[in-house]
């Protein structure tokens, strides 16, 4: 047992002034580790929520990809020539489903962006998207600021945005770069190379490298962001993922028979492209990243970083008072506020501050508070 120091004399101040944490040895099993089971039981009871947004041009297979990810008919995937008219402006379309697996309930909301990048003039086509994302943050903020708030605030914030890059094989287009720059400041973005079955393996590698170069040149931080790695294990794991981003994926929701096995894939005259086969495409990597390993992390970063950034921006822009807890004027957000880019400032851990400020050159200077 460690020799314990004498405790400080009882102080009149209400808050323990400097609680000295003394590591103690326990002489036997107490049962503290059962708190993990308690957590699990509670979590399974309340269920989980996940909101994902898919952004990309028409015909890149977004709906199919979502269906493949969640192995169910989330959307009715549109096939070419079914006579669905192209929407004139970008409209956002959300659907919510509840799926259950082995006792775990997941409330999944998928937001689609039909009509993105399809017009002749695509200037400011990101505004409806940014507006939607910020609107969800706004809704959460308003709920959080109520006097009598709900026990569990419904979370509609977008946790992850999957961006579909058309498989040109060259490099990112100006539209892609513009959008990615703006989106990465507001939400976690995972870019993928769509319809990767039109590229050979070598072409994919070249394309991937070029895209990585482009992202680096324009200082676009996609998920998993380097500045949020917490410890060495995270860094190793995330570096492996960052090497393979953007994933080259193929989506399919039909099953075919290959060598006696029933596999999900696309059947063509020259063979069957198996979706779950790592040699054919990188869909398993995407699915593992989004669902099996990093789902909680996506939600955490959205809540602790992106939402906090939004909140700081909103409260600052409302001319906060110099003193007093949170006395701000929360008029409903004007449209420009919803779409203007914000500096990426909040960081996950305090010691990341210095890295943040030196690393991100895309951060705008803060507007001078009045």
């Amino acid at each position: 047992m460690d020799p314990l120091k004498r405790s400080p004399p009882p102080c009149p101040s209400p808050r323990p002034s400097s609680p000295r944490t003394q590591p103690c040895e326990m002489l036997g099993h107490v049962g503290i580790e059962t708190v993990l089971d308690q957590l699990k039981i509670k979590a399974m009871k309340t269920g989980f929520e996940f909101n994902i947004m898919v952004v990309g041009q028409t015909g890149l297979g977004k709906s199919t990809m979502v269906n493949t990810l969640f192995r169910s008919k989330v959307w009715k995937s549109t096939h070419p020539g079914t006579g669905v008219s192209m929407p004139q402006t970008l409209q956002l379309h959300s659907e919510t489903h509840v799926i259950e697996e082995k006792g775990v309930k997941l409330k999944l909301t998928v937001t689609d962006t039909p009509g993105f990048g399809d017009q002749i003039n695509n200037d400011k086509c990101w505004e409806p998207i940014l507006g939607y994302i910020n609107e969800q943050y706004e809704r959460y903020l308003q709920e959080e600021l109520l006097i009598t708030r709900q026990r569990h605030i419904p979370d509609t914030r977008v946790h992850c945005c999957v961006y579909f890059v058309p498989p040109t094989g060259h490099c990112l287009r100006p539209l892609d770069i513009e959008l990615l720059q703006r989106l990465c400041r507001t939400v976690n973005v995972v870019p993928v190379i769509a319809r990767a079955d039109s590229l050979t393996i070598e072409e994919r590698e070249v394309f991937r490298n070029r895209i990585q170069q482009n992202l680096k040149t324009h200082c676009i931080e996609v998920y998993p962001q380097k500045c949020f790695d917490e410890d060495i294990n995270d860094r190793i794991l995330n570096s492996k993922i960052r090497d393979r981003i953007p994933f080259a994926v193929v989506g399919a929701d039909r099953e075919h028979l290959v060598d006696g096995r029933c596999v999900l894939g696309r059947k063509t005259k020259w063979g069957v492209i198996e979706v779950e086969n790592m040699a054919h495409c990188e869909f398993p990597l995407l699915r593992d990243l989004l669902i099996r390993s990093h789902l909680q992390d996506l939600k955490d970063i959205t809540h602790n970083v992106h939402y906090e950034n939004y909140r700081v921006g909103r409260l600052n822009a409302s001319h906060l008072l110099p003193r007093g807890p949170g006395w701000v004027n929360l008029a409903p957000a004007t449209p420009e506020q919803l779409t203007s880019p914000r500096p990426l400032r909040a960081c996950r851990r305090p010691h990341d501050d210095s890295e943040e400020e030196s690393g991100l050159s895309m951060a705008n200077p803060r507007p001078a508070s009045s």
Partner: protein
């Protein structure tokens, strides 16, 4: 003012909620893999670490520290408290415990001097203030513009163990009063301390008397949750056993062929972990193994929310205005902000006025001083000039004298050179001329030495 609020149960059944929001249930045709979600959540919690804050309220010497030591199976502190404190104070200490991969930061807050004073009217107030202060600190952090809630060291009290002395009859008035003041702020679990002094039959009667007294006085103690199937049965059973009669001890005694924690008396050995002897095991199980997470959640979602609501309403904010129109925080903030701006403006003007006045006064002073200085300077200059003029005059007159004298000297030399003898004899005859010439030379010499 303690407000008793019935818990707003937002436990609408999932199906109804889903129907309201028009959400479809989907069936999946294959394995997606999100059953690892609870594990992801647990991993993140392990990384963050856990915090648990216990408040022990009870008289001095009733066995608070011993019970905590026994609960967590370690020796935290050894010194005994004195009985002579004039006021009730609270002493907080934080410890780090680790079991397999779970790191727990445990804070134990004990009352010091509770029940020792002769006049106990203000005994419970420091406790209430302490609990409120922790809520306030969290509220302040939550209302900050730039906040970091995810790595905030939560110091809100999650559970209050109230130690009841084993009189065998009923609750003391002090206990009743304190519990009534605390029940809306913290989860209270009453325990009967030093239960080795009560026999089994007495204990049953004592427990029933205590519970009926608590119920009849409207004290809401913590009820173990019975809504989750896996723990509902055991929690319901335990609810009927409250308050737990506990015995604490860290000393080990040999019983049979094992060393167990116990208290040894001449008439027998009271074993702490024997369920027949006392309810210690039940307390440990309920407090740590089954409901720790629920205690934390209740503190955050019920007690803290109540505190927050009361505090904000006190500050004048409301969700609904006087005509039952939903008033957003915005309007209240606007009004308050304008008031504040006006106040600030007024103060600023006041300050400016005072400042200008002071500057003016100082300016006048400086002008006065300057004038004086100038006058002095003028005066001195004049004096100096006069002095210079006088000296000039003196010099001139002296020079004239010298000139006159040298003229005379020349004349006398000329006069001398003619008949030298005559002059010589004359000189002898005229000693006045000699002395006069000597004087002239003297004066000349003086003049040279002066200049």
């Amino acid at each position: 003012m303690a407000m008793k609020m019935t818990c707003m149960s937002s436990q609408v059944s999932d199906d109804e909620q889903r129907k309201r929001e028009k959400i479809r249930s989907l069936t999946m045709c294959g394995h997606v893999g999100f059953e690892s979600l609870p594990d992801q959540l647990v991993n993140r919690s392990i990384q963050q670490g856990f915090r648990f804050n216990i408040l022990c309220v009870g008289e001095t010497g009733i066995g608070k520290s011993t019970l905590i030591n026994t609960l967590f199976n370690t020796s935290f502190e050894d010194c005994e408290s004195s009985h002579f404190y004039p006021h009730v104070k609270l002493k907080a200490q934080t410890y780090e415990l680790q079991e397999s991969n779970v790191q727990l930061k445990l804070t134990v807050v004990s009352t010091v001097g509770f029940g020792d004073q002769t006049n106990k009217e203000e005994s419970y107030q420091p406790i209430v203030d302490y609990i409120d202060a922790q809520f306030e600190a969290y509220l302040q952090e939550e209302l900050k513009i730039e906040r970091s809630l995810f790595n905030y060291l939560d110091s809100r009290i999650h559970v209050c163990l109230y130690f009841i002395s084993p009189t065998g009859h009923s609750l003391k008035i002090l206990d009743l009063l304190t519990m009534k003041n605390l029940d809306s702020k913290v989860n209270i679990i009453p325990v009967i301390a030093q239960a080795d002094g009560i026999s089994k039959t007495e204990l049953q009667k004592f427990k029933m008397a205590l519970m009926s007294e608590l119920v009849s006085n409207g004290v809401q103690i913590y009820q173990f949750p019975t809504d989750d199937d896996s723990v509902a049965k055991i929690n319901a059973a335990m609810n009927g056993q409250l308050p737990f009669a506990v015995v604490g001890s860290m000393t080990e005694v040999k019983v049979g062929n094992k060393m167990v924690k116990a208290r040894q008396y001449p008439w027998g050995v009271v074993q702490v972990e024997n369920e027949n002897h006392c309810d210690f095991v039940k307390l440990r199980e309920m407090l740590i193994c089954t409901n720790m997470e629920d205690l934390r959640e209740q503190t955050h979602s019920r007690h803290y929310e109540l505190y927050r609501r009361c505090k904000l309403e006190e500050m004048g904010f409301a969700d609904v205005g006087p005509e039952s129109q939903p008033v957003s925080l915005q309007q209240m903030y606007d009004v308050k902000r304008q008031e504040f701006c006006r106040e600030v403006q007024r103060k600023e003007e006041e300050l400016k006025r005072v400042y200008v006045q002071r500057v003016r006064e100082k300016e006048a002073l400086f002008k006065e001083a300057r004038r004086e200085l100038l006058a002095k300077f003028e005066h001195l200059k004049r004096v100096h000039q006069e002095e210079t003029m006088r000296l000039e005059e003196k010099r001139r007159s002296l020079e004239e004298e010298v000139i006159a004298f040298s003229k005379k000297k020349v004349a006398s030399e000329v006069f001398q050179n003619q008949p030298f003898l005559a002059v010589g004899s004359n000189l002898r005859k005229e000693p006045q001329l000699v002395t006069f010439m000597g004087k002239c030379f003297q004066v000349q010499g003086q003049y040279i030495s002066q200049s």
